[in-house]
Structures are given as structure tokens and as C-alpha cells.
Symmetry: C2
Subunit: 584 residues, 2 copies
Amino acid sequence: MYDILNTINGPQDIKKLEIGQLKQLADETRQALINRISNVGGHKGPNLGIVETTVGLHYVFDSPKDKFVFDVSHQCYPHKILTGRKDAYINPEHFGDVTGYTNPFESEHDFFTVGHTSTSVSLALGLAKARDLRKADENIIAVIGDGSLSGGEALEALDFAGEYNNNLIILVNDNDQSIAENHGGIYKSLKALRESNGTSENNIFKTFGLDYRYLEDGHDTAKLVELFESVKGIDHPVVLHIHTIKGKGLPYAEANREAWHAGGPFNVEDGSPKFTGGNPDTTVFDSLKELLDTNEKAVVLNAGTPMGLGFVQGVREEYAKRGQFVDVGIAEENAVAMSSGIAKNGGTPVFGTFAPFFQRTYDQLSHDIALNNSPATMLVLIPGVYGMNSNTHIALCDIQMFAHIPNFVYFAPTTKEEYEQMFKYATSQKNHPVGIRVLPTFEKTGVKDDTDYSVLTNKVEKQGEGVAIVAVGPLLKMAKKVAEEIEKATGKSITVINPRFVSGIDENLLTSLISNHKAVITIEDGEVMGGYGQNIASFYGNTSMKVINHGISRKFHTDYNPDQLLADHGMSVEKLVAEVKDLL
Amino acid sequence: MYDILNTINGPQDIKKLEIGQLKQLADETRQALINRISNVGGHKGPNLGIVETTVGLHYVFDSPKDKFVFDVSHQCYPHKILTGRKDAYINPEHFGDVTGYTNPFESEHDFFTVGHTSTSVSLALGLAKARDLRKADENIIAVIGDGSLSGGEALEALDFAGEYNNNLIILVNDNDQSIAENHGGIYKSLKALRESNGTSENNIFKTFGLDYRYLEDGHDTAKLVELFESVKGIDHPVVLHIHTIKGKGLPYAEANREAWHAGGPFNVEDGSPKFTGGNPDTTVFDSLKELLDTNEKAVVLNAGTPMGLGFVQGVREEYAKRGQFVDVGIAEENAVAMSSGIAKNGGTPVFGTFAPFFQRTYDQLSHDIALNNSPATMLVLIPGVYGMNSNTHIALCDIQMFAHIPNFVYFAPTTKEEYEQMFKYATSQKNHPVGIRVLPTFEKTGVKDDTDYSVLTNKVEKQGEGVAIVAVGPLLKMAKKVAEEIEKATGKSITVINPRFVSGIDENLLTSLISNHKAVITIEDGEVMGGYGQNIASFYGNTSMKVINHGISRKFHTDYNPDQLLADHGMSVEKLVAEVKDLL
């Protein structure tokens, strides 16, 4: 089954093959890839489409002397298979040996840990610049997908590459698709290039001053090798625009490219999922739909990840037609700044994306939105320890980002009803920008929240004495459980507080605690340094109130179990019960 | 002298003029502009170049119904003169009436407070989108300079504009110059367009899918009016590429465009400065020069503001020739990510820019550099209250940004010698990224600092008891003065601590204070929430040590006197002396 692949323990073995054997190697590589993704899931379409390209690259170039940088790095699976890590694809016992992204700790053929888009050309320019300083001569190859081209970091780098004057090979893997459909004018240019075999006027790469080659069949290993040979050792930057098919080799994946971008295990024969279920929580989407249906000046923006907001294809087409849904493509900066403009001219903008990707928009949040006090709403999807748990995608510093930007109100809802009321408040007021932390799922209490969120007040979930626990967002449940256990064990009733607002403190409430509490414990699902709890320690600094702040340590934690990570940082019912008992 | 201008109290008065009078209005507007900038300084070249364009815009369009968004907004002076604010340019008594940027609090003709580059197209897209939602029909005009085009936010927006389908006018004011010379491949395209009267192949704007018009003489009011008339009410996005001369009207400014970008008052007859002096501190440049001259794999990067690092034209040309100086243009994201690549491939990168502009690079600092633990050095120029004091350029949250990103070490030097030793440490180690806060000037102590900065330790500047003051960076002097006054007044000696590291605390030292101190006061030059001092309050939270955190409140403070702002937040020698006395 893996006649050739079994002999490949690294790029050096690929070079021993006849060029005519490369197609078979590609087929076997795809087989190994399908073996893994059908059993454990992962990124599917991007990797299926880049198999032949990767075989060609390793046949021609000399990794690790020559250096590849994979954008987002979610299309690095064939690269991993061909660089000594095939067991993790073929043998179920070794599935756990590799991450889903390039990883320098796994292999000398990987140079960066990467999981955000649009970084490869900049990183490659850096490698190239250092090569020049070392007076060395390796090839530097950035591999970027068409979906990533619209990101500011990529565009800045392409522009700069246009005046760089030494070897740099930018391979554009054009499969005519981002996670969802592509957006932006660039894609019209790419389409024109594809349809003209690379000869159309107004070539986006040439306008940046870059040399350019086009290859129509990105699955023809012989032609790929020929192309790569022609640029090996080139003395200036060149773009190789290669047309591939996302999901190549699995008919159902080729037919439905968005659904097959990434996901869980599936049955190879028909593509049906091995496990069903998934997240049935439609809280976010339902609120957005209600807003759009009742306020014709409201608009939902997103940046290339519409599914995060629950906007499936048909639905987003419908709202896009009404002008109320906008996908800007991978271009978070533009989405956030546009939101400010919309708010300033009478519209009601809501932008949402995953928490780590908001990192790209810090300046736009601060300068474009907050400085202008534009009433825009930012939905920060799954921040904190219960969000994505790869170090490439963690977001444990969302409070550090949002809470300290003046004018922003940053909410941490704990239930579906709180989220709904906060969202309603955010999108109906005109006084300031709002960010809302969106949990993976919101529990429904059945009791409508009618809080007036124009005034910063914390909610006392349970009134007691002696010790108060202030619990941010998803940790409120843990605090309530601790209070129950304490009551059971000691008969004493402690206080539990849900701050709801994490961009400031409720001074009146905190002052009132002094009379009958001796300690406040804070627990939060993000980094402790610069987080919410430290505000409370600071507030009580000059009083006799004891404060204990719990939160996650300052580290790129990865592949953790969230409850275990919390426990490791003092946040479990058991540990907190013991701590409270000591304090009482 | 101002025969026509005196009659202009708003755009409505411009429309009453004959088209033949516009040239005179432009000349008088330029006269008023020169009157102000020669007396109080400000942005010079950008405004001198855009006088005729602005006259034409207000003659044709109907502000404020039609809406202008000025990029960076440092070329809005003629717009201010023509929209009811001419007194602030003509009459010295009213010089103080206006800020240097667009300001919605000044005029209904201004829509955003803006001071960072590359935002206008995104903001304008937002205004346009909201117009569509309101089913209104005003023109939306973004005015962007060529220097701003290379920024990611602008490129993302141009790309998105390419698929937007209603009125949007993007005026590219091309004066062939950023603050310093332009960088990036785009500028080759712009040059080709200028040289071909807008007809050259590979038109950067057309590749984004945008309609395009070129005007060679951007100082011909009649032609400008004709161009604007031709696009007023247009039903799709269009780029107006207008060639202007930076510094137009002042021969010395036209001849030396970099020096005349912005600056202080000058004598109109010859351009000589009215005040000499300026910052003689060459600490940063000297350290960089020594690094480059002793380490051939070292490279200094900057993003369009080389003067901030002291790299004047001749010097940067020399180091650029050696491959050791890189100006990426306005493209901070690319510069930071490139630094990571350089560090990973054997180079020693140092990137520096002004503190507020680092906001653009939060994701690159975290994901591209810190996640990969790349030993790159970031020079954060003039953060805190002693930095730029316009709300468009303040940077009171640099600690909130840098200190919480894992792996980063963030230094706050207080003297020239400390800076030098920290910089030497940063650029000679290979273990982690480093950020250094660069003060406007560093005081020289004459005593070499030989601290080993690989270990996080605070420096006890003065050992005392009872009360300790922990003072960040430039506030150390204040703390020392407080200790002196206390000693004078009470005979008691208090402790003064210089943390040096603001990305973590010195637990050993803080623990040792417990035995003979009852209170710790922290003072810092940035926002108190999420800042350095709160770490200390948190550390002592469960002890009997009192902690008082002083820092700036969470607000977009503007046009302040730094010492007054500090005093307003409890940080003056007088207030601290009183506070310490109370505690003792």
C-alpha cells in the first residue's frame, strides 16, 4: 500500500526516486493523509490540495538547508509525512506524535510554530535577510494560500518583497477558496490570472514589483518539478502561482470545500462523519438574527470565519443580499475599522471572530474604535482556557487586551440570558464600544436577565460572609459549587460574586464587603498577570482585606485539559474549598 | 492679504466663488497655513501639498453631508481653514483653538479623531456601508497619502473596496514621499503610473478591482474641480490618483521633503528654525551603531520613521548598503514578523518605532515572535506620560501590551547606563525576545551598569524601612526625591526600588520587605489598571503589607502637561511625601 512511502524517511530519500515515481509517492502520501484525517480529523481540504506540490518541493529543494515556511501551517501535513513523520499518519499508535501545525520541536524541517494566517512571507523575508547577513545561499520558500493573501501582514510583506533583491520564492497555492468563499478584489485578479494561464493584465504580484510564473495544473508532479528547478537558486523574489484543487482526491471534499476545510473523523467511502453531535448552542446566531431582523441599520461583519457566528452558507447569502452581512475575508483590521465607520454614520455594527484573531486588531480597537468612542460591538469568540487549546490558537490575554482600552466596556457573561441582555444593551446604546466574551456554550437558566448594563455593577450570586469568591465568566459554576461544599461541611455561608463587567470594578460592592468579609478570592479563566483579579487586589491594597488572585500563569500553554490547567493553578472545587476553609 | 479667504466661513461660501477665483483662494489658504506653521510648527509638507486639492473638494462636494476621511489626518489643515476654523491659522490669539488632527469636537466637518496611518479607506468603507443601510446617498471620500498605502490596514481595505458596490471615492495624494523616502514594490507601480500619465500596465488599484483616474497636476484647481465633478455621485468605488508636490509653495520645503514633513516654528524667508536645540540624546543611536559595527549579522529595522532611531539620511544609506539597515515603510506588522525570521536564521534583529505604533503589531509580537521565542529586540520609543501627549498618539498601555505576552522580557531603564547594559544583554542573548522602553532622554550617571540582566532582579536604589516606593522608569527620580524630603523632615529613611524588569516581579526582594516594611507604594507612568503596580498588590494580597498603586486613569488623556497629569493621579513629590508621612 505504501510501497514507495515506506522507503521515505526524509527528503534525501525522495531525491533517490525517478521523476516518474513521484506521482505514485504523491498518491501514497495522500493515502496516508486520508488515513489520519479520517481517523482523527484535522485540516482536510488544504492538505489534500497540496500533496503533489509538497512532493515536488522536497524533490527539488534541499530541506532543511533550503527552508520552507508554511502559511497558517495547516497545509503542512504532506510536508510532515515526507520529513520523517509518516508514522503519525500511517500508524494509529503514533497519531499522537505530531501537532496539526509546523513545529520546530518535532523536526529540523520546521522553522516556526504558526497557526494564524498571512505570516509566511514576512517570516520568510526574515529568514532570507538573515541568510544574506550570514553570506549564505540557501533557498527560502514561503508557501501561502490564496485565502491568506488578503491579510494585512501578507500584503505588507508582498509589498516589501517587491524591493527585496535576493532569493525568495513565494509559492501561492491557489485553490480559489478561503475557509469559506474568498472575498476582496484580489480574487478577481487571481481568477483572471487562472483564466488567462497567468497572462492577464493587472497582475497583483507584478504590481508589487515581483517576478511571476503560473502553473495551471498544480497536481502534475513533473510540471511542478520543472517549475521548481527553474527557480532554484534564483537571485530575486519570484511568485509561483499554482492552481490546485482544495480537497483533491476525495470527491465529496472537492464538491463541498467549505465543509471539508477542517473537521472530525469521517468514513472514507462516503465522507459521512464518524461522530455526530457538535455544538447545538445557537445563542449567538439567534441574537444576531433577531438584531438584523428588527433593525435594518444593523450589520454583522466577520473576517473569513462566518461559521463561528453560525452563519451557514444559505443564511449568509440571504443577509448579504439585504446588505446586513459582510464577510471581509481574512482582513480583521479592516473589519474592525469599518465597524467604527458604520457606527459613526448611523449603523449598528457587530463584528465577531475567534479570540486569538482579535490580537490582529489591537490598534484598530484602540485607535479607530475606542478613541472615537464608536458604539460598535465586538464578539470575542471562545477566549480563555475553554477556547482552543493549541498554543497557536490560545487566547488567555483577552482581558489584558480589551479591558485596558479606554471607553471599551468588556462583558463576561456566564449564562445564555446574561449574554442576550448584554448583547441587547450593546447593540441598542450609542455611548461607547462593547466587547463580549462568548463562551463555547451558554447554559440556559430559564430566568430572563433584566439588568441595566449601562451601569457597572457586579452581581452578588450568593450573599454570605467571611470569604467572597469573585468568579469570572465560566468559572462562576465552580465558585457556586465551592460555596455549596463549604456550607455542607461547615454550615457557613460564603459570598459568590459574578462581576459581569471585567473592564472595571464595582467599588461600592467591594467597599461593602469590608464590614463582614476578611478575604476575597478571585478566579479567572485567563492569565493572572494584568487580568481582572489584580484590580481587586489593588483596590483592597490599603485595607486589611486579604485578596488571593488565581489565574493562569504567563506561558504558551498547549494541548491541555482545561479543567486540569485550572486545577494546576489552584482553581478546582477541591482546592478552593480547602483554601476557603483555611481562611474561615 | 486674505481678500477671498476672509469671506469663507464654511464650504457654502466656497461654492459662491467663480471657478477662476479658486486659485486665489488656494494661494490665500496656503498663506494662512504658512502663517500658522511658521509660528507654532506642526505638519508642514503634507499640508502644503494638499491645498488646491482641498479647495477643489469643498467646491465640488457638500460637506458635511458628503463626508471626508483624512488618513493620519495630518494633512487636514487646509480643510480646517476652509471649514470655519481659519482664525486658528490667521490670528495668533486663536492658534490654540485647533488640534493638529481632525477632531469631531471642533467641527461637524470632521468625523474621526485620527493620528495613526492607513486607516482612511476602512473608516470610509464603514461610513459608506452605514449610508447604504440608511438608504441615503451622500458621497464618501477617503483621502490617503502614498506613504500610508503600504500599511496592512490600508491594503486590506483597498482589497475589500474592490468588491464593494456603491459610491466610494478614494483620493490618493501621491507626493512620492512618506515621512522619509517611500519603501516597497507599490511605489515602483505608482512611479510607473506617474510617468505614463496613469496608463502603465499592472496598475495596483486595478488589480484590487478598482476603477481609476489619474491627474498629473494636483495643483491645478480647474482640473481638480473637473475631476471631482466627474465622480460626484458615482455608483461604485473609484481611485483618484493625484500627483502633488510635498511642501508646495516653500522652495526649501520642496527641496528637502523629509526635514519639512513636520517640526517647529521657522522663519519664512529662508526656512531657518526659530528655536534651535532639540534632543541631543544619542544613546539609542550610539548603541545601535556599536551593535552594527561589531556584529555583522545584526540588522536594524524600522517602519517609516528612521529618525526615531537617529538614522539620518546619509547614515541609513551607509548601513543599508551593508545590508544592516532596513526601512520597510509603513508596515509595522511586516517588520516585527521579519524580525522573528531573522532571529531564527542566525541574525540579530532590532526593530524600533514609536510606542503607539507598536499597537499595530500585538499579534506579531505574540504569535510570530513570542510563541517562537525568537531573540528579537523591540525598542519601544517614548511610551508613557512623557511620550507624545495627543490622544491620537498617547501610549499609556505599553506595559499592558508587552508585559503579559509570555516569553517577552520587558525592560524599563531609568538611566543611559542601564539602557546600554539592557540593550547589550538583549542583543547578545539567544533565549527570548526583549522589549525596552526608550525614554525621551536618558540621564547619564557616569557609573557603568554591569548588571546581569538574564536574571529578573529589581534594584534597591535606597535601603530603608517602613515604606518602600517602587518607581517605574522615569519616575525613579521622583521616588528618590520623596525619600530625601522624608529624611529631611522626619529623619527616617525609606526604601526606593527600581524594578528595571516590568514583565514580572522580584519575589525574593518583595518577600524580604515584609520583615521591616508596612507599606509599598508603586508609581508608574502609564495606566494603572493592568499595569506593573497591580502585580505587587496581588503579590502581597494575602499578607499584612499595605499596597498603594498609583498610575494614570483609564482614559484617552490629551494635550496634558505630563507632570500635572502625574500629580492629578497622586504622583508628585508633595503628594507622595504627605502619603508616606501618613503611612509612617
